[in-house]
């Protein structure tokens, strides 16, 4: 299978950073997932072969890390933090609002494939709570009104 040139140059560079090949695995899985959308059987087989690992060893690592997934997600993955600092400032309301507005539950994906939703643990935005990440972008000091605007923006972007 083929990845982008950027992926390949980063991969080659990273291999030179460590005494063992295997060390590149965790960040490489995330970069591969960003390109393909999820860690498909094809991606797993490819990386296992490149790093002299068995597919089982790769899957074993994937299942440990919460950001890695072997199932496709929406184009925009809403990760709403409901941990303590966010909870105190209304994160549950934000999460419930997302569930109703998108009509999906935790780890669900909308029928058009545009959005998926996740309730996540602390993302390091405690002083700017409540907060969420949409893919890698942080959105902080959220309110339901703000959520409306943010979601519309992504929707418009996604339709283009």
């Amino acid at each position: 299978m083929t990845f982008s040139d950027q992926f390949e140059s980063r991969f080659a560079e990273m291999l030179s950073h460590y005494p063992t090949k295997r060390s590149v695995l965790v960040p490489t899985l995330l970069y591969a997932q960003d390109e393909v959308g999820y860690l498909s059987q094809e991606v797993i087989a490819e990386l296992a072969q490149r790093l002299d690992l068995t597919e089982l060893e790769v899957r074993n690592v994937i299942s440990y890390y919460s950001m890695l997934t072997t199932k496709p997600r929406g184009k925009y993955n809403l990760q709403v933090c409901t941990n303590i600092s966010c909870m105190l400032r209304g994160a549950e309301e934000i999460f419930d609002w997302c569930r109703q507005r998108l009509d999906i539950d935790h780890k669900g994906t909308t029928a058009d494939g545009l959005f998926s939703l996740e309730e996540v643990e602390c993302i390091g935005a405690c002083s700017w709570a409540p907060a969420m990440q949409v893919n890698y972008d942080f959105h902080e000091n959220l309110t339901v009104e703000k959520m409306d605007t943010i979601l519309d923006e992504y929707k418009n972007r996604g339709m283009q």
């Binding site: 950073h17 460590y18 005494p19 063992t20 295997r22 060390s23 590149v24 695995l25 965790v26 960040p27 899985l29 995330l30 790093l51 074993n60 690592v61 440990y64 890390y65 919460s66 950001m67 890695l68 409901t82 941990n83 303590i84 600092s85 909870m87 105190l88 400032r89 643990e121 602390c122 993302i123 390091g124 935005a125 405690c126 002083s127 700017w128 709570a129 990440q133 890698y136 942080f138 902080e140």
Partner: protein, 439 residues
């Protein structure tokens, strides 16, 4: 990205370059950047270690171990390469300080890593940044590239004859990986399962080589100590608690934010003056003083100095600097449940007391908050937590047990208010689905 705040009581050292464009290497150099590492190159390794030791700098990740002391445990001679590993897997709930360091002052972290390397005789450093912080990983990759381009990293740094390489590394979502031995496993491309100690990482660490592991804030403090001197740094805080600390104020506050205050700053003042007090005319109920794993303090316990030793004396911990403030409308059972839900989710499952303990606590607290609890459950939860303490490879089990015990001890009445079919007194009627009482 994240908003910056300030307060007149702040002593800006680690945060002095925040918001001043120091991610650019030229600007960093204008702001005294890379002076400390050049000074360190002219010092004896033991001299660097002693300077850091005497400064009273203690681990900012939470454990609070003297940094110079930690470095001194690395053997002088080693058949295997030695490593420096910067822990930027910040994920303790309530903590959001390393994020600001990486965002505004990445070169300070690089500089700290190199100085630690010179001190222990290592030639390779890794900066591990959690996967969620992708934009910070990009900033760090650029900073490292710029430092290489100037000859500050790589072969013969600053023309000194000393070689030092720094590489970035990324995680993919795991609280447990913030624990030092699990961090090494993750960097080696494995599941983040902790290693038994001894041997400690300073002797047997990454790929079997001696490894110094420090939190990002700790390493970012080091260049300032080398330039300003141990005496100056130590004098900023009380005895054995040198310097300043980035305190992440969150929860029910008028002015939440990350503030750099001297060690030993009074917690009450921090909440009511720096953080602007409690909004909406509410009263304070409790404070989690150093990230979710530290035992809660009730409102009458907050007249304490925020340093490692005073907090220990107060029955809690300074932890990672995450100060979470709870007003009177907060249900402590629900708060305990949310805390435990986190630890249950993040337990790697390796040690039984942690894996099973967090799961039972979560189940019991869930039932409790839904009115299905029995009086004996309160003591059972306490007893269960007590038996998790110290019985695991890494402190995640303790991190779940310690706050639970404090919640029960200090807010027992709130637990009793939920007993035997009574709905949660803090929730709107019908908001929590009631569960049956199990005899």
């Amino acid at each position: 990205m994240a908003e910056l705040v300030s307060h007149p009581d702040e002593v800006k050292i680690v945060s002095k370059r925040f918001g001043r464009g120091a991610t650019g290497i030229d600007r960093y150099l204008e702001l005294d950047g890379y002076k400390a590492v050049q000074k360190a190159l002219g010092m004896q390794p033991d001299g660097i270690i002693n300077e850091v030791k005497n400064s009273g700098l203690r681990g900012r990740g939470g454990a609070g171990f003297n940094t110079g002391m930690k470095w001194s445990f690395v053997p002088k001679q080693s058949p295997k390469p030695k490593y420096v590993l910067c822990n930027g897997d910040e994920s303790e709930p309530g903590t959001c300080k390393d994020r600001l360091i990486f965002e505004h002052d990445p070169h300070a972290v690089i500089e700290g890593v190199v100085i630690a390397g010179i001190a222990v005789g290592s030639h390779t450093g890794y900066i591990y940044i959690r996967g969620e912080y992708r934009y910070l990983s990009n900033i760090m990759q650029q900073a490292i590239k710029d430092a290489y381009a100037r000859g500050f990293l790589g072969k013969n740094i600053f023309g000194s004859g000393y070689d030092f390489d720094v590489y970035w590394h990324g995680g993919a979502g795991a609280y447990e990986v913030g624990e030092e031995s699990a961090l090494m496993e993750s960097l080696e491309g494995k599941r983040g399962i902790p290693r038994i100690r001894p041997p400690f990482p300073a002797v047997v660490g990454l790929w079997g080589g001696p490894t110094v592991i420090n939190n990002a804030e700790t390493l970012a403090s080091v260049p300032h100590i080398i330039l300003g001197g141990a005496e100056w740094y130590a004098s900023l805080g009380p005895a054995k608690n040198g310097g300043t600390r980035l305190f992440c104020l969150s929860g029910h506050l008028n002015r939440p934010g990350v503030y750099e205050l001297p060690m030993g700053y009074n917690l009450k003042k921090m909440i009511h003056e720096v953080g602007g007090g409690i909004p909406d005319g509410q009263n304070l109920k409790a404070v989690v003083p150093g990230g979710s794993s530290t035992p809660v303090l009730s409102a009458d316990e907050i007249d304490v100095a925020m340093d490692f030793d005073s907090m220990m004396k107060a029955g809690s911990m300074l932890g990672s600097g995450g100060v979470v403030v709870l007003d009177e409308t907060t249900c402590m059972v629900k708060f305990a449940l949310r805390t435990i839900k986190f630890y249950q989710h993040e337990s790697c499952g390796w040690c039984i007391p942690c894996r099973e303990g967090t799961d039972w606590l979560k189940k019991t607290l869930t039932r409790f908050h839904a009115g299905g609890g029995l009086k004996k459950d309160i003591d059972n939860m306490y007893y269960l937590s007590e038996n998790m303490l110290g019985r695991t490879f890494c402190p995640l089990g303790d991190a779940a047990a310690m706050p639970t015990m404090a919640f029960i001890k200090k807010f027992r009445k709130e637990f009793e208010d939920h007993l035997e079919g009574r709905p949660c007194p803090f929730e709107k009627e019908g908001a929590v689905e009631q569960l049956p009482v199990m005899a």
